[in-house]
Symmetry: C2
Subunit: 260 residues, 2 copies
DNA sequence: CGACTAGTTGAGGCCAGTCAATGTTGGTGG
DNA sequence: CCACCAACATTGACTGGCCTCAACTAGTCG
């Protein structure tokens, strides 16, 4: 249980937990990034001490979201990028006829909101899957800062480019994998991401409902449910509601690449 | 026929057509962008005359590709971005087990190669669908130039962000549309892109095989073929090999959003 | 001419969707 | 405390859309 993702980095200097929805002012955020445990996965990645000091004022505020609350929605003006500090979010796009496609699941250290840079309006929505806190990086503050800190410029581009290749892997999954392969790939992706964050890669909590997972994978919720049951029956994993334990990772890996 | 996409902007100052594969030297490329008919869709978009003059040396060379030739492949070091000058390309990702997923079709004015910025290696491949010429924008030249031309910085980010939202629309298509809806959306997307480039939006040539279209849409080639036949029978379009004429665009549009 | 590639069309099978019944969990208010 | 409800999840029976396999045509190129 100790390895389940949970708040590890409670900021000792932070004031008493503010109410959800509360925007934490900049005055409480000196050295926001320097002291953050996610700095090596997040925007400050690879910066030296000097550069780090310069971007430490990047985070103008933080924002708390209650479960189900939207960080931004279709048409929201693009003003900032967000770094997930605690909790998690899903992003999704919606068609005119109302169909929704989940396009991403974002956890600790992930940057969300990049899509808004295309048109100065967000073309997708981001919704908290649990009580969540994000760092707000005002875009008109990033821009001039990046002019003077090339490493930040580079990181920004890399996050954009990484998002592109991430999306392309998802296309590969949606376009050419069968249901069981998709779910296996999804579970392994989660495992890898938890591992990189220092959590268990074999036991974690799903933050999405079966329906949301299905939307992400291009499947119906019943199919997702059935697959979980089957995987469990085959001894590949143990599942109890949203609590997953991977028992046979090699088998999962093999499932992903099984043009049988 | 006059409205079929074809080379419109043959550069009068260019030397005699070099052999395919030939790399055209920078000496022939003064004012590459200023005089290009695609400048308002391509990297110079929105730049004023002064800025345009500054980025006019961005294109260090051009490259000709024969049909089927690869511009870059999985693992190719990332060194440049490419702007399609004539012809067209497909981009695709390949899984370890060899499965290929076409992730994009790129025409006149499109920027390709953005995915390489994530890891300094390309994670996808780009292959010419016909004899094609691209402008080569050396990345180590873009970087310093962007430092001094903010508008270029902005454009670069916008192209990256636009690619992200493009990919997300494709995810929506792959994840939540049925076969006929996907093909309809694909045909309308092509129509719109040809329109913006000054070509007919109701009559154009497909540059991809049924198999490539299928891979892009997450379908098998037989399904694509059958759908074309059905659409023709229903009077929505006329198709003869790769020559498409859209007869009932509203019907196509309705097909895309038909949760019947 | 034969070999090859691209495309069309048909027959049949299977994977995932649909519809429906039931179980489980967590929150709310009497 | 329990009753109640809504949201989430599981499982079964059935259906159908797309895939698979296969035969055939047309065009191209050596």
């Amino acid at each position: 249980m100790a390895s389940t993702p949970q708040e590890r980095d409670t900021d000792a200097t932070a004031p008493a937990t503010p109410a959800p929805g509360h925007v934490i002012s900049i005055r409480d955020l000196k050295a926001a990034c320097t002291s953050c445990s996610m700095r090596e996965l997040c925007m400050p990645f690879g910066l030296d001490a000097h550069e780090l000091a310069q971007i430490d004022t990047l985070v103008s505020s933080r924002k708390r979201l209650r479960k189900g609350e939207a960080l931004y929605d279709l048409g929201t003006p693009f003003e900032a990028l967000f770094a997930v500090r605690t909790g998690s979010l899903k992003t999704s796009v919606v068609a005119e006829d109302g169909r929704e496609q989940v396009t991403g699941y974002h956890m600790l250290g992930d940057i969300v909101g990049l899509d808004g840079m295309a048109t100065d309006q967000h073309l997708s929505r981001a919704v908290a899957l649990e009580d969540t806190e994000v760092c707000v990086m005002q875009y008109d503050r990033i821009e001039p800062l990046a002019q003077h800190v090339p490493a930040l410029q580079t990181n920004l581009r890399r996050f954009l480019a990484r998002e592109i290749s991430r999306d392309q892997s998802i296309m590969l999954m949606l376009g050419s994998m069968r249901a069981e392969e998709r779910l296996a790939a999804f579970l392994l992706d989660l495992a890898e991401r938890y591992r990189r964050r220092g959590y268990s890669s074999t036991q974690y909590l799903l933050r999405m409902t079966r329906e949301e997972i299905g939307s992400f994978l291009g499947l119906k919720l019943e199919t997702v449910s059935r697959l979980f049951s089957r995987f469990q029956q085959e001894g590949i994993l143990r599942i109890n509601g949203r609590d997953v334990t991977l028992l046979d990772t090699p088998a999962l890996r093999q499932l992903c690449t099984s043009r049988d």
